[in-house]
Symmetry: C2
Subunit: 321 residues, 2 copies
């Protein structure tokens, strides 16, 4: 059994190889650049952990983990084009550095490369893994489309937002764990539990991310708070505030969003607090965390095997702000 | 045994189903629109023909054929973004009608859908087909990147151009035939021959396309001739002319390309003719056709099985201008 940290180091080492041919350099160098600027590699590690929850790690789990990490990076390259984002992880985005057309095509070829890695696994579960991978990939695209749609809508219901977050970010976390579990020989029931553990943990993580952007301690959070508020980003907090605020508070919120005064962050936070959005968000996050842990509890393996997943949960969803 | 035309009708009927979920409509409607504006569906039919060259058509060949047609449409949607093309088959392109971001994401989800169809085939050849499909998909991206690179270069060698054309268009034709052959149980040797038949035929087709754009009979060709010349497009004809022309002719060609006078097409054609580019192109095309047919001859099946492929060859590479 490996700790979460051991698996992070192990995967980072195995992943630091060339994933693309040398030529044409104009196509592949952008992908090598993007992979070189880092990332926490959490999703592929989840695949290894999903495997080890049920059995010793099978070499096939590394192939699937690599496909997962490449897929995640493909989505980032294409999302950055759609969002016209200049920076990612503090570095220039691919489309900014190499142009939109090359970023588009380099992303395409990175997606195709995922399937080369998937094609290395044993035929006995290739159909099953491919089905799960394809479904997840499709859902991630649906989540991105809904996110773009929502940005254009004036009103978004909280439940629709949760559905979008689930598709855009949580299903890949969930599927990473489940694909590892499939390779580890997990039963259908256990596969469902590990998937739901990941999906609920992913939603809790996103709620926490929104919470920290508004209420986090800047020193611990590592970036300026209030970024989402300044950009009028639809978040768990804003959508809930718009649902529970008084007519006066709603009018003030909308005026602040339109006019962008210098004290916008401060005044929006004051409304959030008056509406108890902070306490509500903590409670909502805790609800998803509890559901996640219930699914982990229900998996029929000895508790020693679950240790790394508990470490992962603690890493993703801290209880301490 | 089916004729080429029978298979075209057969595939068109089988392909006219919904390939995507209903929701989110903003993501999937653009793909349904694009598939509805047509296309000759030549590549998937080649897959069926590759199968029937060796055995009765296996239902799996339709799954692979569908994946091939969706892949081809995915490349068109993304290429149209990169080329900023307003029209395709006389209709608005996806990015023009729905915006670049949606076209990008709809294309991504169309590529992912290919792998759903591939995942329906029998495990006995899934690894083999996936390997061939992935290699081809990667090469098509490489061809598109080289095409974009060449447009920015002043000089392109004819051999490099042929390599680009081979990757951008011929390998998909070749692989469509070969993947059908794999399903039909063809030997490794026969697979290589059918692949090379398709690859050489594809290059011959592209030479013919360039020839007809310059020297074709406008009534038979169905579109205005001289479009490539007006746009300074790098073609077989232009690259060869730049290799064999005298210093004076080269200077005149470059001046015409820079200044775009009203009689540009006429004057470029005069230089092409003075350099015997027309006869050279016919001869080069014929060379590739001959190589293609030699590979078809070498396939160890009865000649009656080859009839549909000969019809296909005649359809793609007419000897009559």
């Amino acid at each position: 059994m490996h700790s979460f940290k051991d698996l992070v180091d192990d995967f980072a080492e195995k992943f630091s190889v060339d994933h693309f041919p040398q030529q044409p350099e104009t196509l592949y160098e952008p992908n090598n650049y993007f992979l070189s600027i880092g990332g926490k590699r959490i999703r592929p590690v989840m695949c290894l952990m999903g495997n080890e929850l049920f059995d010793n790690i099978n070499p096939d789990a590394y192939h699937v983990a690599t496909a997962i990490e490449l897929f995640h990076n493909f989505t980032l390259i294409h999302d950055d084009i759609m969002d016209a984002a200049p920076l990612r992880r503090g570095m220039e985005t691919v489309h900014k550095k190499y142009g939109d057309s090359t970023a588009l095509l380099s992303g395409d070829v990175m997606l195709i490369r995922c399937y080369d890695y998937l094609n290395r696994i044993d035929a006995s579960y290739l159909h099953h893994i491919l089905a799960q991978f394809n479904k997840t990939a499709r859902e991630v695209c649906e989540g991105q489309q809904l996110d773009m749609d929502f940005e254009k809508q004036e009103t978004v219901l909280l439940n629709d937002y949760i559905q979008m977050i689930s598709l855009k970010t949580s299903v890949l976390i969930a599927a990473s764990l489940e694909m590892g579990a499939i390779i580890g020989g997990a039963s259908e029931g256990n596969c469902k539990h590990i998937y739901e553990f990941g999906r609920n943990l992913g939603i809790a993580f996103q709620i926490q991310d929104d919470y920290l952007d508004a209420f986090g301690n800047p020193e611990k959070f590592g970036k300026d708070v209030g970024g989402d508020i300044r950009q009028n980003k639809k978040t768990f907090l804003l959508l809930h505030a718009l649902e529970v605020a008084t007519t006066e508070q709603k009018t003030e919120l909308k005026t602040l969003m339109q006019n962008n005064p210098a004290d916008k962050v401060e005044r929006v936070l004051a409304i959030f607090k008056a509406c108890n959005v902070d306490a509500w968000a903590k409670e909502l996050k805790e609800k998803y965390v509890q559901v996640a842990y219930k699914h982990l509890d229900d998996i029929a393996v000895t508790s020693v095997r679950k240790k790394a997943l508990l470490e992962l949960g603690a890493f993703l969803v801290q209880r301490d702000y």
